[in-house]
């Protein structure tokens, strides 16, 4: 009898806590569909389009050098690239950090990738044509963007020695809800993608101090490769980062979105906005997001509840 009562007590507790978690169905129905009109989705899905709008609103972003939409444009690729020492090639409609090549310099006639890999002209042409063909965008076609490479702030470089870390902030009605930084690992192959094995570190929005780490479904305090402690650090330029996120959110008609920001030595730069930000951030923060969202939208709620 007693164990049964304990079971029900625990069951009730679990139910109560489950009510604080934002689920996929609820995120889609109550946050994405009600706050983001379908016709505005391309703004977030197409990085070129987003950049136009955001830069016009005064949001700092990496500079676009070139964009390729057709194969014939690739004939001049070598000539085009000669003008730049380092750059990033990415699909305009890619997701999850896929299809991105970071070039840090030349190696004879070839190019040197950030991981030390050598790219020939043919490699780059092939990669760009794959992008144009839509290999990375689940679509019929796409554009390839060549843009300036962000050099990481030294403090971030210490935190994330294997690649560019980004800061993800979930914005609802132009206000920050939850945030984390995603740090590439050997496991994630240099990508800041949690599902591919990047390290996620929760950030307290008010202070910019890191609170919890999560790597491959486990709580951690240290970077799995460098062994450096990632908890209790204050991110550089934190007030500026939050300000940038708010400015970006206000600039677009999307009212529930994920904002991805990188920190260079002279301040934060916005990488992209995401109209379907993932839910894993809750595990990284070890906290459900629904209770925060509900508290934020209590007044004049359009939540439908």
């Amino acid at each position: 009898m007693k164990s049964l009562r304990t079971f029900f007590a625990r069951w009730d507790d679990a139910r109560e806590r489950a009510a604080t978690v934002l689920s996929m169905n609820r995120r889609n129905l109550h946050y994405i569909y009600t706050r983001n009109q379908r016709e505005h989705f391309p703004l977030a899905d197409d990085k070129m389009l987003a950049k136009e709008v955001l830069v016009a609103a005064g949001v700092r972003m990496p500079e676009t050098y070139r964009a390729y939409s057709y194969f014939f444009e690739l004939r001049h690729l070598e000539h085009d690239l000669d003008a730049y020492h380092d750059f990033v090639i990415k699909p305009a409609q890619g997701s999850g950090g896929n299809g991105i090549i970071v070039i840090v310099g030349r190696s004879g006639r070839d190019w040197l990738g950030i991981s030390g890999k050598i790219y020939t002209l043919y490699d780059l042409q092939k990669h760009i044509s794959d992008i144009i063909f839509g290999v990375f965008s689940f679509d019929l076609g796409d554009r390839a963007i060549i843009e300036s490479r962000i050099v990481q702030h030294p403090e971030m470089q210490e935190l994330s020695p294997l690649g560019l870390a980004d800061v993800r902030i979930i914005m609802c009605d132009d206000r920050p809800v939850m945030s984390m930084t995603r740090i590439p690992t050997r496991q994630s192959d240099g990508k800041a993608n949690l599902h591919q094995g990047a390290l996620g570190v929760a950030i307290d929005i008010a202070s910019g101090i890191t609170t919890h780490g999560r790597f491959l479904g486990e709580s951690v305090e240290r970077h799995p490769d460098s062994g450096i402690n990632v908890i209790g650090r204050t991110l550089p330029f934190w007030p500026e980062i939050v300000e940038l996120a708010k400015r970006a959110a206000r600039a677009v008609p999307l009212k529930y979105l994920g904002v991805d920001i990188s920190i260079s030595p002279d301040g934060p730069q916005l990488l992209e906005i995401n109209v379907r930000p993932g839910l894993e951030i809750q595990n990284v923060n070890e906290r459900g997001m629904l209770s925060i969202l509900q508290a934020m939208t209590m007044k004049g709620s359009v939540d439908g509840e």
Binding site: A18, S23, M24, T34, G96, N98, Q282, A295, V302
Partner: protein, 540 residues
């Protein structure tokens, strides 16, 4: 502004939902209560597919083969007849009682075979014989031939007469008394012999043992001697498997009905649902030209089928489902195709439940339902194997082509070509080793193959082999679930009889479309947030 349009949307949602539930429910209720649809029609019926295989060896002579084919009557219905007779031409004849098939060929050389197949659905019938009915003194002239002696039915033989007096000693027995005594005597006192040759009535009596034909002839002789019309029936006991043995039993004319008796299997005035009547009279099932090494066997496959035709006998109302299907029939859309079409929404609903309630990821929303309906022809297992084969081939070919460094579209085209070639190879291989389910693999709709192959290749490039393996596994489970629902005979009968229930499927999807609960797999994903009190922050 948002609130206002939100309220309007909510109103429309509830209205549509109500219509989608109430409309089909009332149509169904109307059919059940006003049109009197039988619910029994929803229970699947047993059906038997009977294949008669015949084979001869010719040495240049003309060969005739003759047999009897079953007729549709009030107890058994025969359809989907197929004749595949090679060098033989087939000729069908029908008279009052029997249907005959005659296959003819000239100058036959070598081994030749004939396959005749049909599907049978039959009922179990039991007769009640009035207890006080006496044996009539005279019958209509048309029954005279069922009262006379025949070469195998020696009803006037003194030994048979004497035996009959011992079995039915009364001067004026009732019919019930007479047939009961004859039946019990033959069933209990004459041993069953598993002997396939011909036994006449007298021989059976003398030996005190007989197979079905001997007992039946003796039964007919006894009955006719008592002035009760009786006849032999030749047929087949339908059981899953292959057999050469046919069966004979008896029908006795009582009170205007031909009442069946089987004194081998002790069926008194009844006939089971798996008895197939092939012919009436003292006839031989197969006749053929001599010395051609004639071989035959019956292959019988039991299957469950829906019985939509139960509704066909019903009202002529526009809501009668049969009339509705007649439109499709008129333009040549088969009931089978219609069934696939009608079951697809259910498959999609199953997929939706798995995706939005359980939290599975699948290749597309329609793909599992489509694969499941493609698996109709191959069976579930080979359907899943085929699906896995496509995934595997796509993955392997993509890797190989990646290494060659080709552009995307030509790569996809090569992959599709490879998939098609492998599917054809599987079909040929299936026929060669006699696995005909496998041979139907080619019927996997090619569009589905194309979509699957491309999606798999893209996903593998984008998200890695592990992710593809996981989604493949989940998709397999969902395909199996779709198959279970879509191939369920009960569901098929239900939807065929009440197609308006598809609106309820829409209603369920409308409801699921607003369901904001936590998916089962999300409980697993966020288990620490839900189960571990330490991991929780305070509520903001």
């Amino acid at each position: 502004m948002i609130n206002k349009s939100g309220n309007a949307r909510r109103g429309v949602y509830i209205l549509v939902l109500a219509v989608m539930v109430l409309l089909p429910m009332s149509v169904t209720a109307y059919k059940l209560y006003v049109l009197d649809y039988p619910l029994a029609g929803l229970i699947p019926a047993s059906s038997y597919k009977v294949e008669v295989s015949m084979q001869v060896d010719g040495h240049g002579e003309d060969i005739d083969i003759h047999t009897y084919l079953p007729k549709t009557d009030s107890r058994q219905s025969v359809d989907s007849e197929q004749n595949s007779s090679g060098v033989f031409t087939a000729e069908l004849k029908s008279d009052q009682l029997n249907r005959e098939a005659l296959w003819k060929a000239e100058n036959v050389r070598g081994t030749q075979s004939i396959l005749y197949a049909y599907e049978v659905r039959a009922r179990h019938v039991r007769y009640k014989i009035p207890a006080d009915m006496t044996i009539p003194d005279s019958y209509p002239a048309s029954l005279a031939l069922y009262l006379v002696a025949e070469p195998g039915v020696q009803k006037d033989d003194p030994q048979i007469e004497a035996a009959l007096r011992g079995i039915v000693p009364m001067e004026k027995p009732t019919i019930l008394d007479a047939v009961t005594r004859i039946h019990r005597h033959l069933q209990d006192n004459l041993a069953n012999r598993d002997f396939s040759g011909y036994t006449d009535a007298l021989t059976a009596l003398k030996l005190g043992e007989a197979s079905c034909n001997g007992k039946s002839r003796l039964f007919v002789a006894f009955a006719r001697k008592l002035n009760i019309p009786a006849r032999l029936v030749g047929g087949l006991i339908m059981q899953q498997g292959s057999k050469r043995t046919s069966h004979q039993w008896v029908e006795v004319y009582i009170n205007g009905h031909w009442v069946p008796f089987d004194t081998i299997n002790d069926h008194f005035a009844e006939i089971p649902a798996n008895f197939l009547t092939l012919y009436y009279g003292d006839l031989v099932l197969f006749k053929h030209t001599a010395n051609v090494n004639f071989q035959y066997f019956f292959k019988i496959t039991k299957q469950l089928v829906t019985q939509p035709d139960v509704q066909s006998a019903l009202s002529q109302s526009v809501l009668n489902v049969t009339n509705f299907y007649a439109f499709f029939d008129r333009v040549g859309i088969s009931q089978n195709l219609l069934k696939i079409l009608l079951m697809l929404p259910l498959g999609a609903l199953v997929t939706v439940v798995f995706r939005n309630v359980v939290g599975f990821e699948t290749f597309g929303t329609f793909l599992p339902a489509l694969i499941a309906s493609a698996a109709r022809d191959t069976g579930l297992m080979w359907g899943l194997v085929g699906f896995l084969a496509i995934i595997l081939i796509s993955a392997i070919v993509r890797r190989a082509l990646d290494w060659l460094q080709l552009l995307h579209s030509p790569k996809m085209a090569i992959m599709l070509t490879t998939v098609v070639i492998v599917m054809m190879a599987i079909t040929v291989g299936g026929v060669k080793i006699g696995l005909f389910e496998l041979a139907h693999m080619t019927l996997f709709p090619i569009a589905i193959l194309a979509i699957t192959a491309e999606r798999v290749a893209l996903m593998e490039a984008e998200q890695g082999a592990m992710k593809v393996a996981r989604i493949t596994f989940m998709t397999l489970i969902v395909i199996a679930a779709c198959y279970a629902v879509m191939e369920s005979l009960f569901m098929q009968s239900l939807i065929l009889a009440f197609p308006e229930l598809l609106l309820v499927v829409i209603a369920l999807n409308l409801w699921l479309g607003k369901w904001i609960g936590i998916r089962v797999l999300e409980f697993v994903r966020f288990r620490r947030l839900i189960l571990d009190p330490q991991g929780m922050g305070s509520k903001a």
